[in-house]
Every structure is written in structure tokens, then in C-alpha cells.
Symmetry: C2
């Protein structure tokens, strides 16, 4: 400890320009490879951007900043094309909105957008080529977003706490808005634009009606005006009971004419502040939130009322499928499907149902949600969680695109083989015009935006996949590592390896073999397989793992809850994979695994292997000490050490806890620490971040 | 608005190195005046620091960073003295701890500390000379702190909210400590060391017993270890009921032997983690906090119990005099004096009573606290509030050293003329060895530390005055402006003028002529003279201003609450100044003021003049646009505009409200806006920062 502190003392200080992570992947440091730099300079001598628009202005500003940084040279803007001109323009003949083409010939490089947003995205694509030291001769790129609305969901409260936020507090300083405009808002818009995100929901789905009162709409307007040139549209969350709370009505019944009129008037008012307002996200009748069921109406009744109000303005309603019965169900995994399957076809055309990737709640591994593919007449959008509520929060390195790709590539078999989840949500499976995806943001006011430096890669990766879900996780990891750290190939390889393996490693030391929802209560931090008493049994861990003297796991087969029958028959076969074993089956401790070990031994081995793999990740990182600036090296080093401590907590406590049921010895050579189970059960995190504080 | 937004769009971006205020006054940018730079370079060719210690190490590191920045040149360390050597060393023959001498001759510059902290403070003094472009030939400086314990009080809660915090949330990331050590902690220590602050109370006086459990003490230890080389001692707040809450005892009675033993054992445990732990601050029997009176014991009983526990370790107890009866008193201003005067002489020698500057609560203007000078046998320490709870929070520019000096220079007449408050607290009046001062910190995790860039000057000014209360406010403003902005004399003059006038301007538009405690309820933001219903009447505004058809003001003379009689007779005469008029007197609306106006006209004029003066400050700032970097210029410009809006709210609403009593016309040419009083009364700040959120 003493040595660590001394090392820190020697390293810590205010160097003029510390590597604090604020610049994200938009660093624009000078290209280090002199050959590459020379080639770039010879190809990019000046820039021509004919035409003008607010987006053209921010595009030019970004370009000037980036080229000056990357090429270490002021690149002038001109008004004609000569040798070495980078031309960025709009060609309305390109039909697909937001799309772009990049081509180069001996003379010039041409970035052509279908519209100004497309041109801007094309510019960021081109900058990415430079940032990753890619070749820029003979370019022939065409790109269009596979999904139309690519949205971030902020679970930020008006007091700046963030539900499930682990990177400090909300970047929205509501109290000082509208007069005081934090420069960070602009950098936020730039970062999103650079990865193709085109919408943001500013506040928590557990909504506050104040947000749609004039006092707050004035503040929202400032943000919307600032974001507009970056093609970033503002959405809000609608509190279903707002007509009562701020409208003075007696009811919020969606079929009540007064209520319907109140929402129409309110929506018209919102559009006066924000003419391109995107629409609402609604969490209704879920976890205590009000909703149409309070009035014996359906989710469709509620959604359609709001949809009608925003329709004249081309707004949309994103209605969340994450709902609960007030009665505890036999299997919570079945709930959303049960409620929404029967409503298929009953929603207005500007309603989209927002479905979490899996049927429980953003666990480290879940099968895809059975609603995907199940609603032939209702568009579904994906809700991923970028913030790592169940994946170590801001102290664990876990690269999530790997997990998201697993879901996107899963086959629903809705229209036969190849009916992937990706095709459901991008609209191609059902030939839908509209498509959308949401990611619950991991952004806070921590200097580096995301708490853990590597968590930036999840924001980045979410945006990249939202634009093109066919990108590979490895390519995304590579890009991000190059833009964030260095173009040294061996360093990039090491960092990419750390990222790519990190998710499966985490699954092993947290929830191997299909285990799920066995974390600490409320804050969801650290292990808690022993959590057995909560106000609802489907919030406990024992509800999910069902460990007993015979075995462990949730039987969702025909002999159990039958949840597996919510999937198409061919799709069900995918779940024979051992990685889903305990999700779908209650299995004997002595069940023979493919490895030849018993299930009990296999569980122990997974926990132990997870920790060992993490040590491998630590080792890889340590070896990079001379290749990474000291600020960022130290930041990640400290967090990896914390992660290892926590991974060992998971291993030790889960093995010891499950052993109280299995009554079998832990395979030798597997370390479970030197403390009794009670020690782990007694660990408290009284002020863990991300939950509403209790006073 | 549109123009503003476009201007912002053009200005906002991630320049490689934005002027975000993080570097505080420790910028160390290259000296711009080439003559001065040349002179410095010829005098400082190398550095010799004989001897070693952790403080010597951080001193050397700071010096290397600073000289490289200021002189734009690596200045080598040597191990002997030659021409142009800067020698920094310790000479134990200098008797006063922490003090230093700086001298220079043709050959070398010598900084000699009584100890390593003294040497470090001497170095920061020398760096300040360079930063302000002062001469460094024929130096002959000696300096010693006038007050021994110079402390910051953080009102930070364990969930990172800050009571009365307006610069974001707590910089202490307890959840990720002890493993993750934010580099900001070191920069915090550096900043405090640079202005002579040598102690910090990490958490809120509304204390949490968890803070002294092993889980948190492990985290505290990391901070204490990090701060130690910077001569920054850690103190904690003691929750009086901790023996019950975490000790499992049935009582916290300070005369109970078990309770006394529990505290002794607990304190011994704390010192195992932090061997130089400074001691406790205690808020007891005040605003709902538990204390000795719960057991019919006195404040002395409570304080002495804790004092006994920390005495063997040389710890101290700072016992706050800010207490309330549970019964609402006829005049809250008299409370602390009434309770503590009679306890004079009953406290152990390592107890010091912490007294706020004024008898109410950190108002924009208060007379000094009557306890100062009233306790000949009990040491008192000063509690200033750096965070601007009642002075516009993070949206108003108000340079507080002006206000603090007014208090420090006030004469208590305790031992005849010249018995200033400063002499009471620095110990010279009563020939006391120990002396202390506390400032309630305005630091949060906002990038610029204090929310408002100019609020940095209050942190800075507090530290400078704590070291030497004889420094003038103007000198402090000058120093800070030079170190923070520029050494251009005319710019420094303008900025210093803005700072020096800002406090009186704020008093005029908020609480002129001795008015006090007329702000919004709970959050204390914005005007609220109409606040009349709270759970205690001494929390309302009407309790304090007592406006009625005859006049306005709180009669604290012989005909009223007699609070004035708590002061020595000669001291009372100071309060004849019109600036205290309504603090001590209930005065007729038609009372003739020195100006010849009636009181009513004078009140209106003060409000109006405050706004006009503020517009003058805005104008001065605007004229500096080409002289200040755009980031900081814009930041301050936006906040000044917000401040002007709020000053107008104060003016309009207070004049309209008091007019409902005075029934007299507003003097012509005084603008009160175009809205009725109701409009102002209805303004809400539902999520104003700095109060514990309610759910």
C-alpha cells in the first residue's frame, strides 16, 4: 500500500494537459506514423464545403479542429476544387436519409450526403479513417443507417441523481439552465453525432410531470436548439398521471375526452418550444408507475392516446414492454409476452413497443426476448442497457457489444431460418418503414463521462451497432482502441483482446451457465444469491436460481413454467446450449456436463476460471505500462484491481452459498478464500451509487 | 437568444486544452512579459533542496512543474549552491511551526522553513511572486500563520450530495474508495497547501455514524495518507448518538461510563487508521441533531467526553455554538450567547467552540457574533461559510473576503478598544496558544471545482485570510486575478474592482440596511420575504423583517429583544451605522435617513442601485472580451446575465412585497418590472441544489 501511494504521489499532479478521458474517442492528436501523415497531407490540402446550414457550420468547425490536430496543420477552406481538395456536400439524389458516400480519385476526396446530417456522418466516417490510420486512396464507401431512430435513454432525475448511473451525477444542470449552458452539452452532441446517435431522451422513464411544464420546457428548448445542428433530436418521458399532477384533472383515464384534450394541448405547447420534438417514452404500469391499467384500460389505449396527440407533429410514442403485474407471477420472464402478444395490431402506426434484449432485466446473459418476432403487426424496438447495472457498474471492464451482438444475431425463426432479432428491429423482416433502438446511457458528470474509461467503448459501440448491426464486435473494439489509445498494432491487439474476452469472463465469475438475477438487493452491486426476502418474491435471488438439495436452475420447459414455449419451436433449440442451461432447466447437481464434470464441479470451475481469466486481463494490461500514458494506465490499473477483488467475492460467496445446497466438496485447487459464507452475506454497500437515496 | 446560441455554437468545442477552470490559481503558464521572464531565468538556474521527507518530495514535484511552466524551461535540481540557485531547506532554529523566511542575494534565493510544511508554504509564496510577476531581487520575507488550525469543513454526505453545495456533488467517491483514488484528491491537496489550509473535515456536520466504522475508516485512511505530505490533516464529524447506532449501546449519555469507554475505544481505533487524526467537529442539539441535552447534560459534558477520548492523541474537539432550543425563542440571535456564555470555563483544554461570524446564519451582512470576546476562559474559533448559501449560490459573483474582513476587523471591546474579532480568534487577545478557523467549503465535482469561476476566489481568499487576516481584500483580489487570468494591469484592475464591489452590490439588491433572512424557504435561493409559514417561526422571513403598517425591522434594542446588550457597551455604538439599521431596530417607513430620503424611499433606492451596480459589473466584464480567453469569458458572461435576472427578481419582489405594508408609492424612475407580486411569490425552484432531496 505504501508503495502504491508513493507511486500515486509521484504520478498525480496537474500536468498542463492530463489524460483524463474527457476527449473520448475524438482526440485528434497528431498522426504518429510519419509516412501515413505525409500521405494524408498530400491528399488533403484544402476543404470545400459548398452550401450552408447549421449542420454544415458544425461540420466545418469539427473538420477544422480535427484536421488541425491530426495533420498538425491548418487546412484552409476554399470555394473551388483543386488538387488535394476534400469536398463535402449534399446530393439530394441520394435517396436514403442520413446516408452518405465517400469516394476519392487522384485529385480529390468526395464526401456526399443525402442531406446535411448524412454529410456530417460521412465526415465523421472519414475522420475515423484518419484516426485509425487507414488508407484514403481509392475510397468507395456507401453507408446508410440500418435503423432510423438511434436513441440514448437517460435515466436522469431532475435533482441530478441518476437511476442506475455510476459515473457521477447527471450532466444536465437543470437549475442553471436556461441561462447557463455548460460547454459539455456541445461535446455531448459532438460525441453522439460522431457515432450516428440521432436522438436522446433527457430524463428518467420513472418520469416527473414537471418536465413538461413551461419552467422545464424553456430549459429543454435550449438543449434542443444546441443539439439540432448535430442531428440529435430530443425526446421526453411522459408521466402518465401528468393530467392530474400538473393539469388539475381528476383522472388520467386515456379514454376520458378531457384527458385526451389535455394531452393534445400539452403536446402542442411542447412543439412550440421544440418544433422537431421526437416524442415520448412511457413506462406505465410497471414498478409502481401509473398507467392505463389504473383505469382498466389497456396499454394500447394509453399508447394510442399519446400517439394521437403527437401524430400531427410527426412524433412517436415508445411504449415500454417492461411491465409487471401487481401480482407476483409464477415466472416473470413470461410477463411482457403475455401482456403484449394479445395487443398486437391494436397500436396506432406511430407507436413502437420498446423491448429489453432479454425477458428479465439486462442480466449479464439472457436469451433474447420472446416478443421479438412475435408481433407481426406491431413494430418493436430494442432497449439495450449501456450502463452496467448488473455488470459491475463503474468498476468492471465489460465490453458489451459482444453481448448485444449475441442477441441481435439470435434467430427468432418468426419467418423461418434467418429471422434474426436484428431483422425484427431494423424492420426488414416485416418490411417496415420505421425502426428504432434505445440504449440506456452510462453517461454522468464524471470527467471521463462514463466512470470507467473502458465504459466509453460501450457508448461508442452502442452507437456504431445502432447504425450498422452487422459490424463485428472485434472491429468496433479495434476502432475504439485505435481512436482512444494508439495505432500501435500490438497494443491495439492486446486491448482488443481484453475487451472481446471481458464479457464472457464476467459471465463466468458472476452468473455462469444460465444463472441470473443473483446480485445484491436494491443497488444490484456485488453477489447476493442469498437474497430471499424482498417486498416481491420476483425481486429475490432464490426466486430465480431455485437451488435445493437436488439441484439448481429455473425450469422453464414444459415441465415447468413453459416460458420456453413463447419462442418459435425451431428457436427453442438454440437454448440447448449449456450457456443457457440453468435459465431453462432445474438440473441435478450431478448432471454430467459436456466437459465430463458434474454440474456442481462445472459451476465451481466457471467461477474459478472467471477469476483466472480476469487475472490474465490484468496481466495483459500491466504489460502495456510503457505504452499507455500514465494517467490512463493508472486509472485502469486501479479499477482492474478492484474488479479482481469483486470477482473473487463473487466466486467465493457463490460457491460457498450454493454448496450449502449441493453438499458436495469444492473441487481441489479451486480457491474460495479463507472466510465463511456469513462474512460475504454481511457485506453492505450502504451508499452504493445509482439508487435513489433514502433519508 | 438565437444569436447567443449561434455564438455558443461557434465557441463551444473541445479545443485540445480548454480553459475549463480546473487548474484554479495554479496555472503556471509561461510568464508573458519577456523582460520579467528574462530576469526570472537569470535568477533561477537550478534548485537545491537538501534533505528529504514526503513533504520535500511533493514540494520538489510542484516546483519542477511550476518552473517548467512559468519559465518554459526545465530547471535542474542540483546538490550544491552556485550562481542562480534556488535553495529550499529547513532550519529548526526558526521557532514558529509552519513559518518560513525568503531572502535573496546576488547569488541565490533562499527559502527556509521552520519545518518542511513551512518550507512548502514558502515555496508556494515564492511561486506566487513569479505568478504575479513580482520582483525577486533583494527579497526579505518572513511569514508565519496567525492562526494554527486553518480548516475546511465539507458538508458532504456519504451519498455524495452536499448540503448547501452548488458546484455539483461531492468530490469524495466513497463507493470506489479505497481502491480507486481519483487524481483530483491530489489536486485538492495541492490547492489547499498553496494557500496554507492545513486541515479538512471530510463530511457533513449533520453527521453519519457510518463514517467511523471500519468500512469507511479504510477509505479515510487513503485520503489521509495522500494529504499528509501536503500538511493537510483529516478531521471527522462525530455523530453524538453513534454509541447507540453503531455501538449497540442503549444510551449516548456523555456521563455514562460505558459510553465514555466506547468513545475512547473508538477513537483509539481511528488513530490506528490515521495516526495524525485531527479530531472531531460536533453539531449537537441543533436542528434535530442528537446531543448531550437529550440526557439533560450540558454542551460541556458532551464536548469534554469526546475531548478526553482524543486528548491522549493530541486531538481536538470543535464544538459548534450554532444551537437551537426546541422552543422557538423570542430572538434566535441571542441563542448561542445565552447557552455558551454560562459554560465559559467548563470546557477541557482541547475543546474549542466554533462560532459562526454572525448570530443568525451566514447572511449577506450580519453584525459580528456577540460570543466573540465574551468567553475569557474558553477559546473560540471562527466559522465562515465559503459556499454561498445565502449569497446567490453558484450563480452570483460575490467576493466574500470583503465581508469576512468586516467581521474580523470589528471591535468587540472585550478588553477595551482594539479587541478585534481577529484578535479573539487568533488567540492574541487572551494570550492563547491554540487558535483555529473553519470555512464551509464551496467545492464540488464541477470541473471548475466551485461552479462559478469567481467562487474560486472565495476558496482562495479564505485560505489567505486564515493564514494572515491582516491581508487586504484588495490585495487578495489582485493576487487571485493575476494568477487566474492575466498580469495585464488594466485587466487586473477591472477584475479586482468587480470583485471588491460585488459584496456590497449584492447586499443592496438582496438585504439592504440590515434586513436579513428573507430568502426562499428550504433551498434558500431567491427572494422570499413573504415566507411566513414554516414548522418553526424562526425559520420564516416575517419573524425577521417584522414589516407592518408602521415600519420594518427587528427591534433588538432595550425596547425589544435586548440582543444588543449581549455586546460590550462600546461595541454597541458600531451598530448605529445605517447598514445595521433594520437588524437592530424596528423603524418607521417615514424615518429620515442620512440621505434625506425616507426609510421607504431608501429601501427602494438600495434595491434599484444594487441592480444598476450589477449592470456596471456586467459592462466592465463585457469590455474585457478580447482580453480573456473565450471559454472563461463566456462562462462568466452567462452567469452574470443570470445574476442580473435574479437581482431584478429580488428588487421587484421585495419592493412590491414591502409596499403592501408601507402603502407608499415607489419613487419614480425605479423599475419594479411589469408583473404583480403574485408572480414572484409563485416562482418555484423544485430541485434547487444543496438540499437533501425529498422523495
Amino acid at each position: 500500500m505504501k508503495h502504491l501511494l508513493i507511486a500515486i504521489l509521484l504520478l498525480c499532479c496537474l500536468p498542463a494537459f492530463s489524460e483524463d478521458g474527457y476527449r473520448l474517442w475524438l482526440r485528434y492528436d497528431k498522426v504518429q506514423d510519419t509516412k501515413v501523415l505525409k500521405a494524408y497531407k498530400s491528399k488533403i490540402k484544402n476543404v470545400y464545403v459548398p452550401g450552408t446550414s447549421p449542420t454544415a457550420e458544425v461540420l466545418k468547425k469539427e473538420l477544422a479542429l480535427a484536421l488541425k490536430g491530426l495533420l498538425d496543420k491548418d487546412i484552409p477552406f476554399t470555394d473551388n476544387i483543386s488538387s488535394g481538395t476534400l469536398v463535402i456536400q449534399v446530393n439530394p439524389l441520394i435517396s436514403s436519409p442520413e446516408s452518405y458516400e465517400i469516394s476519392s480519385n487522384k485529385n480529390s476526396i468526395n464526401i456526399t450526403g443525402a442531406d446535411w446530417p448524412g454529410a456530417m456522418y460521412g465526415m465523421f466516417h472519414f475522420l475515423r479513417l484518419l484516426q485509425t490510420n487507414s488508407g484514403i486512396t481509392d475510397l468507395s464507401v456507401t453507408s446508410r443507417p440500418k435503423i432510423k431512430a438511434r436513441i440514448l435513454n437517460h435515466w436522469d432525475n431532475l435533482d441530478r441523481t441518476i437511476e442506475r448511473g455510476y459515473a457521477g451525477f447527471s450532466i444536465w444542470d437543470w437549475h442553471r439552465l436556461p441561462e447557463y449552458i455548460d460547454p459539455r452539452y456541445t461535446d455531448y452532441a459532438r460525441a453522439n453525432a460522431s457515432i450516428g446517435i440521432n436522438g436522446t431522451v433527457l430524463t428518467n422513464v420513472n418520469a416527473n410531470a414537471l418536465m413538461i411544464t413551461p419552467m422545464y420546457l424553456e430549459k429543454v428548448k435550449v438543449l434542443a436548439d444546441l443539439f439540432r445542428p448535430y442531428n440529435l433530436k430530443v425526446y421526453l418521458t411522459a408521466r402518465f398521471s401528468a393530467p392530474i399532477e400538473i393539469g388539475g384533472l381528476k383522472t388520467a383515464d386515456p379514454l376520458d375526452p378531457e384527458v385526451r384534450q389535455w394531452w393534445k394541448t400539452k403536446v402542442d405547447e411542447i412543439y412550440k418550444y421544440v418544433p422537431d420534438f421526437g416524442g415520448f417514452v412511457v413506462k406505465a404500469n410497471s414498478e409502481g408507475q401509473p398507467g392505463p391499467q389504473n383505469y382498466n384500460r389497456t396499454h394500447a389505449d394509453g399508447a394510442n392516446m399519446l400517439a394521437e396527440a403527437v401524430a400531427p407533429h410527426n412524433g412517436i410514442v415508445m411504449w415500454r414492454a417492461f411491465v409487471y403485474d401487481s401480482n407476483v407471477p409464477d415466472d416473470r420472464a413470461k410477463q411482457a409476452y403475455s401482456e403484449f402478444k394479445s395487443l398486437d395490431g391494436k397500436f396506432n402506426s406511430n407507436v413502437v413497443i420498446q423491448v429489453k434484449n432479454g425477458p428479465i432485466d439486462f442480466q449479464p446473459r439472457e436469451p433474447f426476448h420472446p416478443l421479438f418476432g412475435a408481433t407481426s403487426s406491431t413494430p418493436l424496438m430494442m432497449e439495450f442497457q449501456i450502463t452496467q447495472e448488473y455488470l459491475g457498474q463503474a468498476t468492471h471492464l465489460a465490453f458489451l457489444p459482444v453481448m448485444w451482438k449475441e442477441c441481435l444475431q439470435a434467430d427468432t425463426y418468426a419467418k423461418g431460418k434467418g429471422s434474426t432479432v436484428a431483422k425484427v428491429i431494423d424492420g426488414t423482416l416485416d418490411n417496415r418503414q420505421f425502426s428504432a433502438i434505445a440504449g440506456v446511457a452510462n453517461i454522468g458528470n464524471d470527467r471521463n463521462w462514463t466512470g470507467h474509461l473502458f465504459a466509453q467503448s460501450n457508448w461508442y459501440g452502442y452507437g456504431r451497432l445502432a447504425w450498422d448491426h452487422e459490424l463485428s464486435s472485434l472491429d468496433i473494439a479495434n476502432e475504439w482502441a485505435r481512436m482512444t489509445f494508439t495505432n500501435d498494432n500490438d497494443v491495439v491487439e492486446d486491448i482488443s483482446w481484453m475487451m472481446i474476452t471481458s464479457h464472457e469472463t464476467l459471465v463466468k465469475y458472476m452468473t455462469p451457465l444460465g444463472l441470473h438475477h443473483i446480485m445484491g438487493a436494491n443497488h444490484h452491486f456485488g453477489p447476493g444469491p442469498w437474497v430471499a426476502k424482498m417486498s416481491r418474491s420476483d425481486w429475490t435471488s432464490t426466486y430465480y436460481h431455485k437451488a435445493d438439495s437436488l439441484g439448481i436452475g429455473f425450469d422453464r420447459t414444459a415441465s415447468g413454467s413453459k416460458a420456453i414455449e413463447q419462442y418459435f419451436p425451431d428457436a427453442q433449440k438454440q437454448f440447448n446450449d449449456e450457456k443457457f442451461l440453468l435459465w431453462f432447466n432445474h438440473v441435478s447437481w450431478d448432471y454430467k456436463m459436456k466437459s465430463g464434470q458434474t454440474l456442481w464441479e462445472e459451476i465451481c470451475t466457471h467461477y474459478a476460471t472467471g477469476v483466472e481469466e480476469l487475472k490474465g486481463i490484468q496481466k495483459t494490461w500491466s504489460a502495456l505500462s510503457s505504452r499507455i500514458d500514465s494517467d490512463r494506465f493508472r486509472h485502469v490499473t486501479m479499477l482492474l484491481e478492484r474488479q479482481r477483488n469483486e470477482a473473487e467475492l463473487w466466486r467465493n460467496s457463490c460457491i460457498l452459498y450454493f454448496q450449502t445446497f449441493s453438499k458436495r466438496p469444492v473441487p481441489k485447487d479451486i480457491d474460495t478464500g479463507n472466510k465463511p459464507l456469513e462474512y460475504y452475506i454481511n457485506i453492505q454497500y450502504p451508499y452504493a451509487p445509482g439508487i435513489r437515496p433514502r433519508w
